[in-house]
């Protein structure tokens, strides 16, 4: 098997720390926002922030950014399948 360069990639302490700080800030934001009542918009905002946090963890803590295309594509397919599971169920429950 060919030696892939991605295995050599390494996150520096500084990069990791930056990611951690952003994550903590985002946690603060999401808790703060939850005290503000915006009616229907609360859910998408909370989930949007969660998605952003998750992306940070995935890309940097879990190295997804530096992984091979196979892992990236398959990860997106998994998320796609999850989205189908949730959204297609709504064809039923939302129109019942």
């Amino acid at each position: 098997m060919s030696k892939d360069s991605s295995i050599q990639h390494m996150m520096s302490y500084k990069q990791l720390a930056l990611v951690l700080i952003s994550l903590l800030i985002l946690t603060g934001v999401t808790v703060g926002v939850s005290y503000v009542h915006m009616g229907i918009f609360n859910v998408p905002i909370a989930l949007g922030i969660a998605c952003f946090k998750v992306s940070l963890v995935l890309l940097f803590f879990m190295h997804l950014k530096y992984e091979s295309i196979a892992i990236k594509v398959s990860f997106l397919s998994t998320v796609g399948f999850l989205a189908i599971m949730i959204s297609f169920t709504f064809w039923d429950v939302a129109y019942r």
């Binding site: 098997m1 892939d4 302490y13 903590l24 009542h37 969660a50 803590f61 998320v79 949730i86």
Partner: protein, 198 residues
């Protein structure tokens, strides 16, 4: 045959396994979405009864431990075994603290007669029962994953200490790390969905 170890393949295998874990929790999120649609007000009411502060503290604990696990990989690759060991150890302790928090949180709820099949839930509004049912199942399964993750970290700790994991060969630590991050990922969604609904 003496072939070089294929680290990429091992990582690919681990990622595939993580996908299955994501879908496992995905099944729960399908239920959450459908029931949230059916009982929005009860879910908001239920969310108010959970302690945001404990939830936020647990989030921070998991984020911190995720960072230390990621840093421990960097440390082992730079050759500082001691630092790596203490970082893994710290992550493990974070896991314990998380579980203790969870224990008190569940305990408080039990104390208020809120647990599966309790009088309060059965006689209360159905949406409330569903909300707490999902809460117990999801956080319970998540707690189980925390324990599995801690086991993996503990094994990695021993392997690092005995020099089985070193700068050239750290797939086991990397995979334990990936698993630990997954536990974190799920919590990042659980936190707003249960503690911060609306």
């Amino acid at each position: 045959m003496n072939k070089p170890i294929d680290f990429i393949g091992i990582r690919l295998g681990m990622w595939l396994f993580l996908y299955s874990e994501i879908i496992l929790f995905g099944g729960m999120f399908v239920l959450y979405a459908a029931y949230f649609h059916a009982y929005p007000t009860d879910f908001v009411e239920g969310g108010r009864q959970l302690n945001r502060v404990i939830g936020a503290i647990n989030t921070i604990i998991l984020l911190l431990s995720s960072f230390t696990v990621a840093a421990s990989i960097t440390a082992i690759r730079l050759g500082s075994k001691k630092l790596s060991l203490s970082l893994i150890g710290f992550s493990f302790i974070c896991g314990i603290v998380f579980l203790i928090n969870k224990y008190f949180e569940w305990g408080a709820k039990f104390h208020h007669d809120i647990y599966p099949n309790s009088e309060t839930l059965i006689n209360g509004p159905p949406g409330q029962n569903i909300f707490f049912g999902l809460y117990y199942v999801i956080t319970g399964l998540h707690g189980l994953h925390v324990i599995i993750g801690m086991t993996l970290l503990a094994i990695s700790f021993v392997l690092v200490a005995s020099n089985k994991i070193h700068a050239e060969r750290f797939a086991m630590l990397e995979n334990s790390g990936l698993y630990w991050h997954l536990v974190d990922l799920i919590w990042i969604f659980v936190f707003p969905l249960f503690y911060l609904v609306l």
